[in-house]
């Protein structure tokens, strides 16, 4: 087991280096001059050249890369073009909000997705199965922004059950439990929108795994032994069908982070996605790259964890 984990860890080292190199290249390719903000009529070309030299912008690319990565490792992503805010500060401010949203969506997609998949598999080729399968396909096929807008339209604007956006009611100034309830109230719609696609893929995946397992010899043996159908499904089949679902844990992470971009911008949720959208509009390449790098690393860690979890629950994988 340890050997397997060590091997997976070693394999991810080149990947993480690759991620930083790709981020660096994209950043270098972005248009605009880092010095553009300092240019004013009184500055001479010579002075500009001197500051270029001082900032290391004339160094060979690989030197620039190592200087940059040295700062990134210490958590310094540089400063924004406008206002000179620290990019890591901006991101840290919003990271918890994104984590609240993605984590709720993550939990929601498994809490709902797995039972839906199991029910569809157990009732294979009945109306229930067709209905659930159709629902999952719609969940995969609907553009998330369109679903988000529909949800806001019906639940916030027409029915008025939930707020149409934001994370807290600023005017109310809640504290303590009331604050928690307020955030939860704001969280429900975006969490549902963000998780829909994932619920759909988790349930599709669970259904097909469950169907595979139900064909296994040991299920027939259990039936032959005269076990009740419930015991077979929930004790023998369900547990084994769940094993591969662990792999979806890792796959969910990039999906949810991508989705957060759109969900957060529709619901005005003050997270990293919304920061990214504003950054795109203002051409703040530093922020975009920092977000890219951070999420790519999170995704890598997510995949690593799910691979290791998979190896723990299913010893056959290790070899």
């Amino acid at each position: 087991m340890l050997k397997y984990i060590a091997r997976r860890l070693l394999l991810s080292i080149p990947v993480i280096i690759g991620i930083t190199i790709l981020s660096f290249i994209i950043m270098k390719l972005s248009p605009g001059d880092p010095l553009a903000n300092f240019i004013n009529p009184s500055i001479s070309m010579e002075d500009l050249e001197i500051s270029r030299q001082a900032l290391g912008l004339n160094d060979p690319l690989f030197v620039q890369y190592f200087k940059w990565i040295g700062q990134v490792v210490r958590g310094n992503f540089g400063y924004t073009y406008s206002g000179n805010h620290s990019i890591s500060g901006l991101i840290l401010e919003r990271l918890p909000n994104t984590i609240i949203l993605t984590l709720s969506a993550f939990v929601l997609s498994f809490v709902l997705g797995i039972p839906i998949g199991v029910i569809a598999a157990v009732r294979k080729n009945t109306r229930v199965d067709y209905g659930l399968t159709f629902f999952s396909l719609v969940g995969v096929a609907i553009p998330s922004f369109f679903f988000g807008l529909l949800v806001i339209y019906f639940f916030a604007l027409v029915l008025g059950l939930f707020p149409s956006g934001g994370m807290i009611n600023i005017r109310a100034g809640y504290t303590g439990y009331a604050y928690f309830k307020d955030v939860l109230h704001h969280l429900i719609l975006p969490a549902i929108v963000l998780s829909l696609g994932n619920i759909a893929s988790v349930s599709r995946f669970t259904r097909s795994n469950m169907l595979d397992v139900l064909k296994e010899d040991y299920i027939r043996t259990a039936k032959a032994k005269g076990l009740r159908n419930k015991a077979i499904v929930y004790k023998h089949a369900f547990r084994n069908a769940l094993i591969p679902v662990v792999t979806i844990f890792g796959l969910s992470i990039p999906f949810l982070f991508s989705g957060a971009y759109i969900t957060e911008s529709i619901f005005n949720w003050p997270g990293m996605g919304q920061l990214g959208i504003t950054a795109i509009q203002n051409r703040e390449y530093g922020i975009i790259m920092a977000l890219n790098l951070i999420t790519a690393t999170l995704v890598l860690l997510g995949n690593l964890t799910s691979d290791i979890l998979y190896a723990i629950v299913d010893p056959r994988i290790r070899h």
């Binding site: 991620i19 790709l22 390719l29 553009p143 807008l149 999906f255 991508s258 759109i262 990214g276 999420t295």
Partner: protein, 291 residues
């Protein structure tokens, strides 16, 4: 109908596909959209970027509700929503098909060589795949489209270059499976060249899963284009796309009071993607003899 050689693999698959109701409906709806895209100028009552004025006044007829003259009303600039919807089908399909062609060519090529040659080539390319899939697709797409001046071509290339990884992994897996079969071993023993084995013996035998992947990939490319255009980094105005037609709905006023602007493009987008997914699922089942 004798579309395929009798009793061949594809003949059986075709027969199985025809029996699958959802898949046939999906294929029909997809075909309908293709026809709509091809004959857009004949179907659409107006040009997509034609501006309309309030009668007798020199003011744009903005946000007009649906009427006889404008089936789905007009948008924020006084353009006919229905015409834009029809022309949007063209843009959406062109982007999706070209992007999928790119990702299929790259993915199949890399999948074939990594699966067949293995060893170092495999190790290097699979690490590249790992790097690319670590970036959430939308992030990478957004980065590419913000760096380059947004245009329809950038959108196509960005989607193509981001989504080849799943094809590459799939093809690699299939090659690994087929490579061990007896006839490949026999071809090897006869001294066939690697190129000939890959192109003549392996590729034709893994076409079925690639075709399924192309179908699913097209649906995903349509969704990606829509998301990018919705966020403003995809297809740019005045070119209509089902994604950028929904941009205006980010204003609460439009969202609440002008559903004709944003509901139709959303619905057609959902319908087309759903139809293509049905076709993809149908193909997968049809190609699987176990079913």
């Amino acid at each position: 109908m004798t579309l395929f050689k009798k009793n061949s693999f594809y003949d059986f698959a075709y027969k199985r596909f025809k029996k699958n109701k959802l898949a046939v409906i999906g294929a029909a709806v997809t075909l309908l959209f293709v026809v709509m895209a091809i004959f857009a100028p004949l179907i659409a009552p107006y040009e997509p970027s034609e501006f309309f004025f309030v009668e007798g006044q020199n003011v744009y007829n903005k946000y007009a509700p649906p009427s006889d003259g404008h089936l789905l009303g007009t948008d924020s600039l006084g353009r006919d929503v229905f015409s834009r919807l029809i022309y949007g089908a063209r843009v959406t399909m062109m982007v999706a098909l070209l992007a999928v062609s790119i990702s299929t060519v790259i993915g199949t090529f890399i999948g074939l060589i990594t699966g067949y040659f293995g060893k170092l080539v495999d190790a290097i390319f699979m690490r590249i795949v790992d790097i690319v899939i670590s970036f959430p697709v939308l992030f990478l797409l957004i980065s590419i489209s913000t760096i380059m001046k947004p245009s329809i071509w950038i959108v196509i290339f960005a989607i193509g270059f981001v989504s080849w990884t799943s094809t590459a992994r799939l093809v690699r897996g299939e090659v690994l499976r087929v490579k061990q079969l007896d006839y490949i071993v026999a071809a090897n023993a006869c001294g066939s060249s690697s190129l000939k084995i890959i192109l003549k013996h392996i590729l034709p035998n893994i076409l079925a899963p690639i075709m399924v992947q192309i179908t699913i990939g097209t649906a995903q490319a349509i969704l990606m284009e829509a998301s990018l255009s919705f966020l403003g980094v995809g297809v740019q105005q005045p070119t209509p796309s089902w994604g950028n037609m929904l941009m205006d709905a980010q204003k609460l006023l439009v969202l609440r009071d002008m559903p004709w602007i944003w509901i139709p493009p959303g619905i057609v987008n959902l319908l087309l993607v759903l139809a293509i997914y049905f076709v993809g699922d149908g193909l997968r089942d049809a190609f699987d003899p176990k079913q």
